[in-house]
């Protein structure tokens, strides 16, 4: 799992690459919560274009990030969901809970 962060104005874009499972979700969670709780970034966008698998621990990390964003009044947005990631979020009944966009441009414009 590779994670990198880009910043555009007051937005942090987290680029995730690989599989989010029990071995990697703690790192995703840590970076995500750091951006929200410590840095208090007003808008955090997750690029999931290159995420080929996500398990329940990964979904839990996203949910935790969403709750943290709501707690501090910031926004957490997702884009580039592969069919596999979309399927898991649908299975978890979370597709309508997250702000989901097709690409980075749409997410930045939202």
């Amino acid at each position: 799992m590779q994670i990198s962060v880009r910043r555009i104005d007051k937005t942090a874009i987290l680029e995730l690459k690989g599989s989010i499972d029990l071995s990697s979700s703690p790192a995703v969670r840590k970076i995500l919560l750091h951006e929200l709780r410590e840095s208090r970034t007003p808008r955090v966008i997750l690029n999931l274009e290159n995420v080929k698998y996500i398990d329940s621990s990964g979904v839990a990390s996203l949910v935790e990030g969403l709750r943290a964003s709501r707690d501090i009044g910031s926004r957490l947005l997702l884009f580039g969901l592969s069919p596999i990631v979309r399927e898991v979020l649908k299975l978890s009944r979370l597709l309508k809970i997250f702000e989901i966009y097709e690409n980075e441009q749409q997410a930045l414009s939202a």
Binding site: D21, D55, A60, V63, E87, S92
Partner: protein, 221 residues
Amino acid sequence: MLPRGDIPPAARRRSLLGLALSEQKILARDRFHFDTITFARGMASFLCVLRVSTNRCPHSQPAGKRVNPLNTDLLLKLEFPSNPELLCAVRGAMERLTEKMGFSERECRSVTRAVDEAVTNIIRHAYRGQPNHPIVLTCYRLPKAVGSEPEQGMEIVLEDQGEPPDPGRLRGRSLDEIKPGGLGLHYIRESMDVAEFSSSGGTNQLRLVRCLRSENTIRDS
């Protein structure tokens, strides 16, 4: 189909061996029956049947702890330590195996996800995240059941020597509440035709069955 509250054959056998038996119904929903057969002797042994959705699967009759498979072919056996880094290897093996069995692409993902979540639960809960404990994954081809529709299936048995789960945890949770955690069991139920958990003699066993059926009869999950 096992009537709600009925006692599986394996439980009856244990009862005949002299174990006092009490039955505690945990929860019943439209599609799932959760029956926990709790044995005396301090919960030393129990079997929990998480009955899952379909009646179409001819292999959905609960068999209790798997000890002597009949008319089944061994497809794959993996023994590996409880290291999360190995989950990707388990997924890779399951993806190829389900593909080889003739499952659709969607079914392959579904079964692989269920196994991944089951192994994750073993690592997290049974072994409390410790990476060097044994896990055994065995896959069998299930034959066409006599008198049934022309269906085959796959049976997956996972075994570990960790702590058995609190039966209350096997209820899962409502998805109406937006909170982290508790999703793995939901994925397993949605993916498999049968999910049975049993624990006896220090070994926990999860038996999963998924029938092979034509694409147009796959339930929408």
